[in-house]
Symmetry: C2
Subunit: 331 residues, 2 copies
């Protein structure tokens, strides 16, 4: 293995799910209870450099996230993922990982999605492993379920599958298909109390979970068709309903997960009022956190940002069209 | 019929449901999808005087609610209920109704519960009809489902039943059984967009509704047992879960009903923080509106009110222990 192959840098976009991933059939491999559909984001991304030490001198993995060196406890989940890459390549090299998000972590924008996808792609490339996007998707899923979707650009469906090999994402349409925007109203940079990784095991404790899962085949069909037709008025109500259903499941699980803050409600109510009273076609979705993602077409972005700016409690607004899949960056 | 029998005044407490009534099997007679359990409130009540004109001179029902004379449109639901009383008595007298709530209407405290119960009891008494509480409960239910529960004091279960005669409330324990308090944080006096009467027909449009209903037998058992044992730590988590489940159903129905306001979330989050960090045993429940009912024992009331007073957006606090059933008032 030549020196050049021991390091690689990759940039991967986060993604926003229109039909959410919530709940696992097998927590060990992040096998989900349902298919999910997302849009990969151009403007919310993680850039990760992985360098493997083939010399055997390095004793531990060294991981730096947004400029902060992680201690053993904080690094645990990432080291476990590096172990998977080592097992695949049949090596025991330690790694130096430097990773940077251009958006706030752990508060509703899926940093684990872009983070584990970037770690997977950069780690495999630096090891000289030649995996196709489908196999990389399966590998990224093991780190974080939603990372499986960030292996593809544009509009993506993660097939729940039945095992490790079949639970993978595929691209529905490239990022050129539809200039849809995710306008993220960031209301809190505080890390959430319960990470979504542990929340997934709680879904089954909610009395509402079975009904949500049973309803998703119809919702997935609606979302696929709406994306095909580029029809925001078909897409919007379905994505709002599934976000509300997922939070209904979260709120009624044991323990109860209440991710929303007062500002979350203010934005949800405002979005509906703007839509009903002013015809501004923006629809909300919310991940496992308090931030609100407003989905709209390009023509609505400026008006939406202007209005969001007037709401108290909106700390930052991130605007993103669909983006590409993983991009290699020259070191 | 003597002159004295033509008028009657009755005071009836509203009630707060621990397991909610949401969704109808038969909208025509308010036959519910599930049993519900409530506490009748001493301090939130409606006082209603009904006077029937046996002379035949009065041409229309005249209804005054909180000092405001209702026009034909606003009076429609109440006139329909007066029609039921007339049919039962076999008369065609018109009525003069004067009704007063001591709490704000249509924003999370069930004014329709105490209002229709008081109208039923006062109306029947003034007609000289001698109905027992069970039959009055069935009659009140026709006006507003939750009114069936206000026919009894203390702790009450409304059996869903299978028809008009069997869908009635019964008392579980009198108001002397347990000094439980409802501390209502009123955040808005604005009337809600969708009345709960029309919302009940929407429950079946939510993908989550079937699961909530299927889970309630276990929840009802828990609540009955917790009341029997006077155990707030058993009661609390179940009532929070059912309130969240009901709002999950509401939010995911077509159209989506989002009754919460930012202040609603602030109080929910605060109550959980007070409980977890300071051991203040208060649990929330929320009806079809933005106000939050905090359920606690007598010893916690002062501390709770003091804390609620510090939250922005709390406009008024109503504190109520369990109260008696309908009280006749001498004219």
């Amino acid at each position: 293995m030549s020196h050049e192959q021991h390091t690689a840098t990759v940039r991967v976009g986060s993604n926003i799910a229109f039909i959410k991933y919530w709940g696992v059939a097998d927590a060990r491999i992040n096998l989900p209870l349902n298919n999910s559909i997302s849009m990969t984001l151009a403007e919310a991304h993680t850039t990760t450099t992985v360098t493997w030490d083939a010399s055997g001198q390095q004793q531990t993995d060294e991981i730096t996230l947004d400029g902060r060196r992680l201690d053993a406890n904080a690094a645990q989940r990432l080291v476990a993922h590096l172990d998977r890459l080592r097992a695949l390549a049949g090596v025991d090299y330690r790694a130096t990982v430097v990773s940077k998000n251009n958006f706030p972590m752990a508060s509703g924008i899926a940093s684990s999605a872009s983070g584990f996808a970037a770690l997977t792609v950069a780690g495999c490339r630096a090891l000289g492993l030649d995996l196709d996007a489908t196999r990389l998707s399966a590998m990224a899923r093991r780190g974080s379920g939603s990372a499986s979707r960030s292996l593809f650009g544009g509009f993506v469906e993660w097939e729940k599958g039945i095992d490790d090999a079949t639970s993978v994402a595929r691209q529905l349409y490239t990022e050129e298909h539809w200039a849809l925007y995710d306008v993220v109203a960031v209301v809190s940079r505080a890390a959430k109390h319960v990470s979504s990784a542990s929340g997934h095991t709680l879904a089954a404790t909610s009395p509402l979970n079975g009904c949500r899962i049973a309803s998703l085949d119809a919702a997935l069909r609606e979302v696929r068709q709406a994306i095909t037709l580029r029809d925001i008025s078909q897409l919007g109500p379905v994505i709002e309903q599934d976000a509300l259903a997922m939070h209904g499941v979260m709120m009624t699980s044991h323990p109860s997960l209440l991710y929303w803050q007062p500002e979350t409600l203010a934005i949800m109510q405002a979005a509906r009022a703007w839509r009903e009273q002013d015809g501004l076609a923006a629809y909300f979705t919310i991940d496992a956190g308090p931030n609100v993602h407003l989905i709209c077409e390009q023509e609505s972005v400026d008006a939406l940002v202007e209005r969001l700016d007037t709401l108290p409690g909106v700390q930052r607004i991130i605007v993103s069209p669909p983006g590409p899949g993983p991009q290699g960056i020259e070191n």
